[in-house]
């Protein structure tokens, strides 16, 4: 117990003595992990939103009214059955004029001038969910061939595809950024530890002289690096969490786009980032230590010279 306390005390003394360098290393970890976690959050927001779109309606075929313009009674039902038989279609359902009016009222609630129309002008529609979003152009083409029944075809697929490709780019960017910045954080911690060892070279030399084991000498530096990594990672997780929470509040007015990320996402990634921060600190410390303490049987840079 006294040994653990001694090691912790030594680590804290070193942190305090090199406070400026330590703050620099913590900031480096904080900035790099904030950017990496920020990229993950943006990616998650895009994923959530594209998932919402993808799980909804992909294609809407607005229909001409039955009993007029050469559309016989029962033509809508016949078309629905046909569409449901297409291999690109996962599911499809009929959305009649009454439902269309209800949806319209919901969408434009509070905008009286837009609601001041005759409900009968809104068309019935067939709403289609595709097996694969990329098949939208083929389905659109087939629907447009039904010139008698189909008045217009609308699809959100192009927007979804754009969001998906943006999401893929962000995935690659986020991963690349996390790797590059993670390496930068490790290198910065390694440098900090080297400076800390240099600042404490006399102590290290004396520790070796009085018979401290190599691990006993290393542990305070490893603890120091771990603390730097942990604090930097904790600050990054906290900052991104605060930022995302505020973004979600600001985005509450956007009905079509969710800016909210689940708490579970933060618990999972926050924990992983803390582990990564601590590991980066330990790895950085080991790299920093390797140069100065590689020669385990020397007494360090302060050994007596001459003979």
């Amino acid at each position: 117990m006294s040994r653990i306390l001694f090691l912790l005390k030594e680590a804290m003394i070193s942190l305090r003595r090199n406070i400026l360098i330590v703050v620099g290393a913590i900031l480096a970890v904080f900035i790099s992990l904030s950017l990496a976690l920020g990229a993950l959050v943006v990616n998650e927001i895009l994923r959530l939103n594209t998932v919402a779109w993808q799980q909804g309606v992909h294609v809407i075929a607005f229909l001409n009214d039955e009993g007029g313009s050469g559309v016989p009674i029962g033509a809508h039902d016949q078309l629905l059955q046909e569409v449901m038989g297409w291999e690109e279609v996962e599911s499809a359902f009929y959305f009649d004029k009454t439902q269309a009016w209800e949806e319209y009222q919901e969408l434009f609630a509070g905008q009286q001038e837009l609601l001041d129309i005759s409900p009968t002008i809104l068309p019935a529609s067939i709403r289609i969910e595709l097996v694969d979003i990329e098949l939208h152009s083929s389905v659109r083409f087939r629907l447009e061939q039904q010139t008698a029944s189909v008045r217009q075809v609308a699809t959100a697929a192009e927007s979804i595809e754009q969001l998906q490709s943006l999401s893929n780019v962000l995935n690659v960017l986020g991963l690349g950024m996390a790797i590059v910045l993670g390496v930068a954080a490790v290198v910065l911690i390694a440098n900090t530890i080297r400076l800390a060892i240099y600042a404490r070279r006399d102590e290290v030399s004396i520790m070796k002289l009085v018979g401290a084991s190599n691990w006993f000498i290393r542990v305070p530096f490893l603890l120091e690096g771990m603390i730097e990594g942990l604090v930097g990672a904790a600050l990054a997780v906290f900052a991104v969490w605060v930022g995302t929470s505020n973004l979600a509040k600001a985005g509450e007015d956007f009905a079509l786009f969710r800016l909210e990320v689940s708490q579970q996402f933060f618990f999972r990634w926050g924990f992983l980032f803390l582990v990564f921060g601590a590991l980066a600190g330990v790895i950085g410390s080991m790299l920093g230590l390797s140069k100065y303490l590689r020669d385990a049987d020397g007494t360090g840079p302060d050994v007596p010279t001459g003979f």
Partner: protein, 243 residues
Amino acid sequence: MIRLDNVTKVYEGGTVAANDVSLDIQKGEFVFLVGASGSGKSTLIRLMLRDEPVTRGKIWVAGKDITTLPKWKIPYLRRSVGTVFQDYKLLPNKTVRENVAFALEVLGRPQSVIGPQVDQVLELVSLADKAARYPRQLSGGEQQRVSVARSFVNRPPILLCDEPTGNLDPKTSVGIMKLLDRINRTGTTIVMATHDHAIVDAMRRRVVALEGGRVVRDDETGGYEAVRAAPAAVFVGGETEEE
């Protein structure tokens, strides 16, 4: 306690610092290593501490061959060998008490053991009243006494001293030598590298003279020079007179 068998040390660049040195030092002996600068005194101390590997030969310390000692076991060797250097090697940001306690803390001794042991050794070196001072607030002699206290607080059976009086005036040196003599009388083996004629001549202990890395003389109770007559042993059994 310490045995060197045909030990040779050649540094990079070809400098021969120890040349076929053989020595046998018994438990409780006080041995001076004397010789001019560059004769190989400090190298022998460093070889006995396994601070440097030998080029050829064998060294046994407390019955163990330290030339084949794996690196991870070197700290255990150093726990049984105290060291005192010319430049004291004290930590400037720690008090006298903390400097001495440091040697026990790194060995993981509990505070209940460290406290009494540090008090005892500070009494021995007559620095109990200056335990709260920092090294910069002490004279050279006092700093060296702290260094001796730190090297002895763990009660090692062997003490290796490399020019411990090199930075001190003659009067202060006498105080340090009296202290080392007291420690030697507790049964601790002491090997001291020095080129201080007066001390060696006064102590009348075993003298190993080195020249160009070779042992040129090994007298059981000699002086610094082979033919020099030694004055009376004024240090032996005396009390510390310094400050």
